[in-house]
């Protein structure tokens, strides 16, 4: 795929995140998709696992939203820098934590192939409460 097409796919992937549309996101993924973060001990492997992980984020942060400020494509990779915002909800969080605002900087490096997104690595810039989600 061309770099322009790679850029379009990653842009659509973040649009799917912001639309809270896990099916749309999963449709962009390669069969062998792997997702890692610097906060989660084990990677997410495959479309179904990615869909489930995404829905878990939406359960804990029902208004989760990414604002992208840098997108760069080089070769088969796309680098995206973002600010994510949201409000914690759900039984995972304590009563004190529920309602707390999330505002977190980070970036994602994505690798693409003919089948779509092969690999993503999310880097969260600070230690944060989403470790609760990552631990699931």
């Amino acid at each position: 795929m061309s770099q322009q097409e790679n850029l379009r796919i990653i842009h659509e992937a973040f649009e799917a995140w912001n639309a809270h549309d896990a099916d749309r996101y999963a449709a962009l993924l390669d069969e062998g998709y792997v997702e890692e973060t610097n906060t989660r001990p084990t990677p997410v492997r495959g479309r179904e696992a990615a869909r489930a992980a995404m829905q878990e984020y939406f359960r804990v942060l029902p208004d989760l939203h990414f604002d992208l400020d840098v997108m760069i494509t080089s070769g088969d990779q796309v680098f995206t820098r973002w600010l994510v915002t949201g409000t914690y909800r759900g039984e995972l969080m304590s009563r004190l934590s529920s309602g707390r605002q999330l505002e977190e900087y980070g970036c994602t490096l994505s690798k693409l192939g003919e089948g779509g997104i092969i690999h993503v690595w999310h880097y969260w810039e600070t230690d944060h409460m989403l470790r609760h989600v990552a631990a699931q």
Binding site: N38, S74, Q77, F79, R81, Y105, L109, Y123, E125
Partner: protein, 77 residues
């Protein structure tokens, strides 16, 4: 084709290591660690010849960006 320089804050060594590994075979991307200390960044601001001011301004912008964020990206057209 544009080239990109990823300048990673010293506070985010894990990000630097990862980007360095992932872009190691990409001739259009370079990943560097910002090892400058605060005092040296301030020292870069003083008056410079006219033709170098734009470059200095860009460096100053990068320094400010790295104060807030883990990584800044400079594009070389």
């Amino acid at each position: 084709m544009a080239r990109y320089i990823f300048i990673v804050s010293l506070r985010h060594r894990a990000l630097y290591d990862y980007l360095l590994q992932r872009f190691s075979f990409d001739p259009n991307a370079q990943v560097i660690l910002d090892r400058r200390r605060g005092e040296r960044r301030q020292a870069e601001i003083p008056a410079v010849p006219e033709h170098r001011r734009a470059d200095r301004r860009q460096r100053s912008d990068v320094s400010e960006e790295l104060r807030l964020r883990s990584v800044a990206v400079v594009t070389i057209p």
